[in-house]
């Protein structure tokens, strides 16, 4: 039986009541329930409170630069198709600093799960606006309130052709855990945006606000229909949770990249034929 949980105490750097705690539980439970071998799983994260997650899970990780977790994850997956790769970080990390990588990795359709902690604010750097912050949120760097439109990550991902687009909420543990499991099993790029309150810096988008303003998609939603998914994503009156869209027909990175041609041997196991290099001269 696999176990991604620590068997020792660690001083976690999150505030009491932070949504990151239940998200950590869900991830560990999901990985355990999928019976994955922790040595074959790699987390890649950037910088931020959310991006500290890999430190608190017993597995491999590359905790790199702010905004670059997805780039590193994409390369890890590219060179070793045997690994289960999870890129994880906050909304500032992944939608702000790393926005360009989001756009272009969707085009690559790499085999990885991209978890974005969506608390609609910058936590670690103490409360500035995130790309997802609502208009009106007063912060130390927006004293009259945010006046730029927030981005809509679900609609953005859908419009770029992401093959698995889902949203969860830290307050709905069971359902969100199931989303994580399904996203890991998806062949290709899966984005999972998880709403969670920042109890310290975001006094608008509180736990109660998320409860009031979200709903879960039921079986009447056709997740294979892109138009329906877009309609759901664009409805900002009430924010949908669940799998908005899943497309199993688009080939993933390892299938579409002519480099592999069906041979998924990790690069580190391949030997260079130096005699053949000598022949080039």
């Amino acid at each position: 039986m696999s176990n991604f949980n620590f068997n020792y105490d660690i001083d976690m750097a999150w505030c009491p009541g932070c949504g990151n705690f239940p998200i950590r539980d869900m991830i560990i439970e999901a990985l355990n329930e999928l019976n994955l071998d922790p040595t074959q799983v790699v987390f890649s994260s950037g910088i931020g409170q959310a991006a500290k997650m890999p430190q608190y899970i017993d597995s491999n990780y590359f905790n790199g630069l702010h905004g670059r977790g997805l780039s590193v994850a994409s390369a890890i997956s590219a060179v070793n198709p045997e690994l289960v790769v999870i890129a994880e970080g906050g909304d500032g990390d992944m939608y702000g600093e790393g926005g360009n990588h989001l756009i272009h990795n969707i085009r690559r359709n790499p085999n990885l799960l991209h978890i974005v902690h969506d608390n609609m604010v910058y936590g670690l750097t103490k409360g500035q606006a995130a790309p997802t912050s609502p208009i009106g949120l007063v912060t130390p760097t927006q004293i009259d309130g945010v006046y730029n439109e927030p981005i809509n990550p679900m609609a953005l991902a859908l419009s770029l052709g992401a093959t698995f687009v889902a949203r969860g909420f830290s307050g709905d543990k069971q359902k969100t855990k199931e989303l994580i499991k399904q996203a890991i099993q998806h062949k290709g790029y899966a984005i999972l945006d998880i709403f969670h309150p920042c109890v310290t810096y975001n006094k608008i988008n509180t736990f109660a606000w998320f409860k009031r303003n979200t709903y879960w998609l039921d079986e009447t939603h056709d997740k294979t229909n892109l138009q329906d998914a877009l309609k759901v994503a664009l409805n900002l009156d009430k924010l949908a949770c669940g799998i908005l869209y899943q497309n199993n027909d688009t080939p993933d990175y390892h299938t579409r990249n002519p480099f592999y041609q069906g041979n998924l041997t990790p690069l580190y196991k391949r030997e260079r034929d130096l005699d053949k290099v000598q022949e080039l001269l």
């Binding site: 905790n63 780039s71 390369a75 590219a78 990588h101 000598q278």
Partner: protein
């Protein structure tokens, strides 16, 4: 008879100057020493570009400023080159390419290559007619030329091959019958050599270093290496990723090494500027990275198609914080293979970023080399299979923490861009910070056994030193060969510098440093490292490489030769 002659072709982008260059050099290398280089404008069509082909009876890897034979492709290809003509320069081209005054002023030889091409069946063959004409002047072998033509055009069908051979022969015979005679005879002891560009040798060196992943964002002159390795995707198993930007490129390279690949990126100064945060990431995570920076003149977009050696400081200081790195700058063509492969080896062995600092001139010139034996021990992975209690940043007696990769072994590989403990968990312990920092910086000491000494050629007394680094090797070498009082000290491993350099500098009477930049960045580095003033510098920063005759003149002015 001259020791060497300088032929220049001048025309516009898209007229096929490069074809003449490549054909000529490829066929001449069977018979004589040859070197060629082009200077082009940053545009796809039009403008004025030129190619210089030097033919010599001793080995050369350098250009001359003055032109002996100038072939024109149109009526606006002379103007820019006027300062480079001398009283004996022969100009060859169509009648309409020169004004009446110019025809009187210069030694003009009318040849209409388009007419010759038409006789051979198609006006498009005109540059092959020119190739034939030059070969005829040189009295070189038709056989090698015909082979070259056949090899290049075989895919276009027999008619095209035959038409081009006819054009070549017509040009050749015309030259043999003309009154124009070339003042040159090849060295009789010449043995055929290989012709390669700097880009070629770097791509071969990278393969010898085991490269199997490259992520890059196109930027001249760094892109050709990316293209050459992309062309090897299937034969050698190189996964080439065109990244969305340079920030992604280096982060992907670092991620790829982390997961066990042997990875590199290639760019130019502007692109590299975007990579600097990730250089620092490689530093603290003790993750290998191989970075090719192909220099062109800055600041900013600068002169995109020209050359300069002005990014040494950028590469030397790139990345916040303090951490070890290695910088190579190839000079001899053959060094490109060794140093590029060695970059992978040192990056892996010491878990550091290693830079290959080349430039447009060195990368794109066609030069000759003897047989190169590729290094055999630079492609092996320095990775271990992990145990259950593996700690990525263990304080190992060797001074280096054995590097595991995820998925190989029973342990976890935890890597952090924050300061971290042995396991890889972030820490705020001042004590741990100091120990980790010292472990990383101690690699400067460990590396000492792998630093390469500069090459020392010429006068063995080492009293009059001419110092260069990287691409200036060929031009300084040629000057020192004919000035026996000089000693040429050349650096291809430019950082860190071996301690032995200090006595070399202290014991000399005179030192001049030659650099293709405006501030003497390498002289400054030597000065700072060894505490010796080096005020005597010859610097060039107009976007061109040094020319032999020009540099010799500058050395004369400084009473050096």
């Amino acid at each position: 008879m001259k020791e060497s002659i300088t032929i220049v072709l001048s025309g516009e982008a898209g007229q096929g100057l490069q074809t003449v260059e490549e054909f000529l050099v490829e066929s001449l290398t069977h018979e004589t020493y040859v070197f060629s280089s082009k200077e082009v404008m940053s545009r796809v069509r039009g403008g004025n570009n030129s190619v210089e082909i030097r033919i010599s009876n001793h080995p050369i890897q350098a250009l001359r400023y003055t032109i002996d034979y100038l072939f024109l492709f149109n009526n606006h290809s002379l103007e820019r080159l006027l300062p480079r003509l001398h009283s004996k320069t022969q100009i060859i081209g169509e009648d309409s390419f020169l004004t009446d005054d110019q025809k009187k002023q210069f030694n003009f030889n009318e040849v209409n290559f388009i007419e010759i091409a038409k006789q051979a069946g198609n006006r498009l063959y005109f540059n092959i007619a020119m190739f034939g004409f030059i070969s005829g002047l040189l009295n070189s072998s038709k056989t090698f030329a015909h082979q070259t033509i056949t090899k290049r055009f075989i895919r276009k069908g027999e008619d095209v091959v035959n038409g081009n051979i006819t054009a070549f022969n017509l040009g050749y015979d015309l030259a043999q019958d003309s009154s124009l005679k070339l003042d040159f005879k090849p060295n009789e002891n010449f043995k055929p050599l290989k012709v390669l560009t700097g880009n070629d040798v770097l791509s071969i060196g990278a393969l010898a270093g085991g490269v199997n992943y490259l992520a890059a964002y196109p930027m001249s002159p760094g892109t050709t290496l990316m293209q050459l390795l992309e062309a090897k995707t299937h034969d050698f198993g190189v996964l080439v990723e065109q990244a969305e930007d340079e920030i992604a490129a280096l982060n992907m390279v670092i991620g790829a090494w982390y997961a066990g690949a042997r990875a590199m990126t290639t760019t130019s100064g502007g692109g590299f500027a975007l990579m600097t945060e990730a250089v620092s990431l490689a530093g603290i995570t003790e993750n290998p990275a191989v970075i090719h920076v192909a220099q062109r003149p800055g600041p900013a977009t600068g002169l995109p198609t020209r050359t300069e050696q002005a990014d040494l400081n950028l590469v030397l200081y790139a990345g916040h914080g303090e951490f070890p790195r290695v910088i190579f700058a190839p000079g001899k063509l053959s060094s490109g293979v060794e140093l590029m492969a060695r970059s992978f080896h040192l990056a892996d062995k010491y878990q550091i970023p290693v830079f290959m600092l080349s430039d447009q001139y060195w990368l794109e010139s066609l030069a000759q080399t003897d047989d190169i034996t590729i290094p055999r021990n630079y492609s092996k992975n320095h990775i271990i299979e992990t145990e259950r209690d593996y700690k990525r940043y263990a304080f190992d007696p060797s001074g280096l923490s054995p590097r595991g990769i995820p998925g190989l072994g029973k342990g976890f590989v935890k890597v952090d861009s924050d300061e971290h403990d042995e396991e890889g968990l972030l820490t705020e312990s001042f004590d741990m910070r100091v120990r980790m920092h010292e472990k990383r910086l101690n690699k400067f000491n460990l590396m000492k056994e792998d630093l390469l000494e500069p090459s020392v050629e010429g006068n063995p007394t080492k009293k009059n030193l001419v110092i260069g680094w990287g691409s200036t090797y060929g031009v300084i070498h040629e000057i020192v060969t004919s000035n026996p009082e000089l000693t040429h000290v050349h650096f291809e491993h430019v950082y860190p510098l071996p301690d032995s350099v200090e006595s070399l500098l202290r014991d000399a009477d005179k030192i001049v440093v030659i650099e293709n930049n405006a501030t003497g960045q390498f002289a400054n580095l030597l000065q700072m490292t060894f505490g010796i003033k080096l005020n005597n510098r010859i610097l060039k920063y107009n976007g061109e490489p040094f020319h032999v005759d020009e540099l010799e003149q500058k050395l004369k002015e400084k009473a050096y030769v």
